[in-house]
Amino acid sequence: MSEEKKVIVELNENPEYIINMGPQHPSTHGVLRFEVSLQGEMVKHLIPHCGYVHRGIEKMCESLTYPQVIHLTDRLDYLSAHMNNEAVSLCVENALEIEVPERVKYIRSILSELNRIASHQLWWSAFGMDLGGLTCFFYGLRDREKILDIFEESFGSRLLHSFIVPGGLMHDIHPNFKKGITDFIKYFRKKLPEYNRFLTGNVIFQARTKGLGILSKEDAINYGITGPSGRASGFSCDIRKVEPYSAYPYVDFKEILYNEGDTFYRYVARMDEMVESMNILEQLIDKMPDGNEYTSKMKPVIKLPEGEYYQRVETARGELGVYIVSDGNKTPYRLKLRTPNFSNLFIMNKLASGYKIADLVAISGSLDLVIPDIDR
């Protein structure tokens, strides 16, 4: 038997074929590897391999002071930098029993919602591009630029801000801040229907996403799938509602919930969240107190009293938990970060098994994974 024939016979006898998707696959948007076993075109089993950008942030935090820790949290989920900063800041403030000024609470929530919109815009761009609509990428980034300009004006940075610090904010916001946001909302409310016309209603897009990768509510709770991905399955997990923080108790908004739980509804949940975020922003801008307070009095060296503190925050991708164990020193004894993407990643095997390999990109895209947040 010739070599070539031998290979064909072997393939027929053992039809399982293993390929690696990643670590440098364009659709994982970072260094993540899926070990996929295939039978023909169908995915039989999928094993995620992570750790390619493991930086040991939890270990590093143990030798840094609390204000220094803030700068590392930016580097977790770099698309929700404000929310990550806020989580650690709130945890430290709760431990010290410090009440921040009302104005600071409003600014923090405004920043979180702006960040959420920017993050969903980038996700929409990349998701569209993964499925073959390259125009999405230009549309999304064009509008995201407006938010980044607001950020740049106030904080001097576009992605990693480190702006929310224990006790308040790093410095005051730019005088144009409010106007910039009202202009943006006016602009984006006109542009969002364009997104829907372009992608949501597209027949090819719907055929590639509807009824695909269905996640039940029980599985969502069991696997800890939070954020829009969990809420598309009917798991009511919005921390802004469950354990309200900052200025969220003062605003009226609804939690986006769907029961279908497929790839298409995970997409719809995020699109609706952008609209809801704009509603929240409008209310916050109206109610925000005037003045120039941006921080409360803090001691120059922050030492947390002995004990354990936990803070939950809703980022653009789900629930972020910060667990600080303090022994009374200026550095945390142990700092654990429960990141949303870490839990969300491991549902991939369950979602993708039984579907075609071409659907894998749509399913992983709909979970909106950010890899440095998984690896830490």
Partner: protein, 153 residues
């Protein structure tokens, strides 16, 4: 459910539970041999229904380790913190709860990877972030030494 009510129910379920001081959540120590059965009970009992494990972490206390479970109920909204101590530092081992909460499988793998705590009856206990060939110990332990990459302050 108020914390007081929750406390009464916990005492009824597990009389030997020790309560810790915690301003935020109800916080209990559970003996490691009763842990698995107790967690199962917490998830399945009709008036507690603690069905969502939102955080699982390991803490190195130099003489022993503790595994901390943050649980909450998506039906009633109450939360509970469970703590399990390991006996000593040599070969620490705790029963896995991966069969009760699917998310625990990966959180436990992370704790095993970085802290070296074994979880008995875990379906797939391998390193998660670090390479299988990494043999220099467990980085999140307090006695971990790395002269090149960690600067002592």
């Amino acid at each position: 459910m108020e914390q007081e009510q929750l406390k009464e129910k916990i005492i009824a379920l597990l009389p030997e539970a020790e309560f810790n001081v915690n301003k935020q959540y109800l916080d209990i120590n559970v003996p490691s041999d009763k842990m698995h059965a107790f967690v199962k009970l917490l998830k399945e009992s009709d008036d507690l229904k603690l069905d969502y494990l939102f955080c699982l972490s390991g803490v190195d206390w130099k003489t022993h380790f503790t595994i901390v479970y943050h649980l909450t109920s998506t039906f009633f909204g109450h939360s509970l913190v469970l703590k399990v101590k390991t006996t000593g530092r040599e070969n620490p081992e705790v029963a896995s709860v991966a069969d009760i909460y699917a998310t625990a499988e990966f959180h436990e793998r992370e704790v095993y990877d970085l802290m070296g705590i074994k979880f008995s009856d875990h379906p797939d206990l391998r390193r998660l972030f670090l390479d299988e060939t990494f043999i220099e110990g467990f980085p999140l332990r307090k006695d971990y030494k790395d002269e090149i990459n960690i600067i002592e302050r």
